[in-house]
Symmetry: C2
């Protein structure tokens, strides 16, 4: 993409109403624009990151055997009356009346609707196990939306629901979700810690939240430092291997890690003092097992192997897709701007032309642009007639992990400069070497 | 995908409340489920088609140089008060009040919001031309929703907006949209005819609707038979070539083609009688030029080359993504079910195992499944323990363009059967030949 043809409205000033780094940087980098309190447009750069995260979530859910579908944003109130949550949910539920005076709502979550779909179509244990998920816009009418997309009202979320015959099968689904979530965050370059949590309005006994450590997090968290060393790395995961999944979950849930809601000071004190950590955390996902909480009142039953009708065991599992954009920036930025992990970056590489209009520089930049595209990469070529300083500042602000700089002095020696956004280190090399290096970086499995 | 692990709730009975073929078939094939009047869930099979259409629309819009972004579903009413449309829009607009008693609405279209984004960030003619688009859920509170996703209330739509300095530049954007839309429909296997139309509540002078001919269409259309012979085929389109685009638009808009709203009987009678056609049509897209209708009241101006502030020329351009799923089925089905064009099919090829549990048959099916996947294709393997008749009926109903049938009799002779859903013709060949043939079909540019 040529920057002169793109829409990247970066701001020079720091917006005064943005209290945290990710909100400030998303506004400054031209990623979002607020349309109403807690409601944002995703400008082209922000939209690219949002789609990358969405794609990773899709890929990892499908790798775990979960099936994508899509439920609507609006729901009939009657479904929520069946579960008893219509009155219980409170003012965060956006209630709507249509032209025929029917009560509707903008879905804050989908347990009722998916249970209705299940009971309409599934009647036998032979159709189980089944895990359906979707990634859809949701709405929670927060009384005081803040922190940009981190606590918005309209937000993009993956929510998945498992239907199983037994508690054991449902816990296998729980484990699949925990492991697929760990993979998802790791692939995005994010360290998210599963913590025993409180189930809140979803209900249920077993639940873990995934938290990213950040000073600006809304929760206080307590954990054993050992957990931050855990990594899936290159491990091959077989999602059909129940015991293997269980072992991974054991590994991640054995070290103490809890939010303030479930914190147990006596247990925490048993950890060696030098390993005790207190921090703040941003919640980026949560998994629940809640058994028959919805299937029983809503009549979602199957005929079991013995011919008897039984309510199915269920759980639900969410990842905050739009919130992750903010969480990623909280975890990856410096004074100059964002530093995107390679897995989610909006463009793979920036190309900065230090002397726009110079025949050699222009031709070289175009060659690099074409060569990166031929490798299946998306470069952003800053072809504006701007000073070098302004071009570097923009690239640093929007945070592309790699930048190739082309100037007349280097070209005399047959070199361009490859710069890492993260380390700030630059290296001179031939055009071909720079393109190959960037290609290799993104070819990593 | 193995059907035994998938969620494909096909119905045996024809739903009594579905009046048109696409609605009946989408329900029977387990593509959608109604959640409320005019509000649907996209079950896994339907979701795949929806995403395929979305992907094609994205690719063709970006090929035309248009920039993707995403606006929210909910909008503040104040924006619509600025343009004067808040009161004018009528009861099809779903009006919402949030917990702080602020007036909101579920966006039926986005002219106001995109104009607000533009005026907040763009101030100079040097930032033009600019065309932004998004694909997002919208809501129109139809008094009598019907025909399934063809006239639903919550619907998925691509809408794009161009911002230009002059009328001429804006008409170039108009031409880009017309040609990119023609490409989009053709790639989906759909013949959509651009017809001079009425601008309705969007406003403006120049507008064309794109209509698919079908008995169940809501509009009466009048056209010269010559237009149905036009095709883009393999033509290379250069979207930077204004004259080339104009020539294509001339070609498509010269033969008479109008909806009942703009029909001119006297002009129509000048067509040779044997070429006059009257039919019904389904609207699947519309493009508008409306000049400064929004930019003027909302103050979306740029400083021109002469230093004077001028309101920008705008147009908007929509494709009904969810509606296209219905329109495609209206155009491509028979008594046995859907017949997907290869460009949008939910799975590329079905695999039918005639004797599930037979070692040879199972192994061969698994080999075919793996070989198709290795070619980057998505097969659907019917591995259920069902009669052959039931498996064929399901495959015909869900409409995959190609099917490979594996049975013990054929395997004795070293052959499987490749069947075209469209022609019903079958051919026996080796496993490798069948896989290669399917690979070739989808490798077409």
């Amino acid at each position: 993409m040529r920057l002169s043809r793109y829409f990247l409205p970066v701001l020079k000033e720091t917006p005064s109403d943005a209290q945290i780094a990710s909100h400030r940087l998303m506004l400054r980098a031209g990623m979002i624009k607020q349309n109403a309190a807690g409601i944002y447009s995703w400008l082209p750069l922000g939209y690219r990151v949002l789609r990358n995260i969405e794609r990773i979530v899709h890929e990892e859910q499908q790798a775990a055997g979960h099936i994508p579908m899509l439920m609507p944003t609006l729901q009939p109130a009657d479904l929520w009356r069946e579960s008893g949550r219509y009155d219980a949910y409170g003012p965060e539920m956006l209630r709507i009346r249509d032209r025929h005076e029917r009560d509707m709502l903008y879905g804050p979550t989908n347990e009722e609707m998916i249970t209705d779909i299940f009971r309409s179509h599934v009647g036998s244990y032979r159709d189980l196990p089944l895990t359906l998920y979707h990634i859809q816009w949701k709405f929670r009418d927060e009384v005081r939306p803040r922190f940009g997309v981190m606590r918005g009202r309209e937000f993009f979320m993956k929510d998945g629901y498992n239907f199983d015959l037994s508690y054991e099968d449902s816990m296998y689904a729980y484990d699949r979700h925990m492991v697929s979530y760990l993979r998802t965050y790791e692939r995005m370059g994010l360290k998210a810690i599963p913590m025993r949590a409180d189930s809140g309005p979803i209900g249920g006994d077993d639940t873990h939240e995934f938290l990213v450590l950040a000073d600006t997090g809304e929760s206080e968290v307590f954990y054993d430092a050992a957990i931050t060393d855990l990594t899936l790395g290159d491990r091959q995961i077989d999602f059909d291997d129940r015991a293997g999944l269980r072992a991974i979950c054991e590994e991640w849930t054995t070290p103490y890690a809890r939010t303030d809601e479930t914190h147990d000071a006596a247990l925490f004190d048993q950890i060696p003092e030098e390993q005790r950590r207190t921090s703040r955390g941003i919640e980026v996902g949560q998994i629940f097992y809640f058994g028959t909480k919805y299937s029983e009142p809503m009549g979602a039953t199957v005929v079991g192997p013995d011919g008897a009708k039984v309510p199915v065991h269920m759980g639900s599992h969410g990842i905050g897709v739009s919130r992750l954009v903010g969480a990623l920036i909280e975890a990856h930025h410096d004074d100059n701007g964002i530093i995107w992990p390679e897995g989610v970056t909006p463009f793979h590489c920036g190309i900065v032309n230090l002397r726009q209009g110079d025949g050699d520089c222009d031709a070289t930049c175009e060659k690099i642009d074409a060569a990166l595209k031929a490798k299946g990469l998306d470069p952003l070529y800053d072809d504006r007639d701007e000073r070098a300083g302004a071009k570097f500042a923009t690239m640093d602000l929007i945070g592309l992990p790699w930048r190739i700089t082309v100037g007349p002095r280097g070209l005399k020696n047959g070199v361009v400069e490859l710069t890492s956004r993260k380390t700030g280190e630059s290296e001179e090399m031939s055009l071909k070497a720079a393109v190959d290096r960037v290609g290799q970086i993104y070819a990593r499995p």
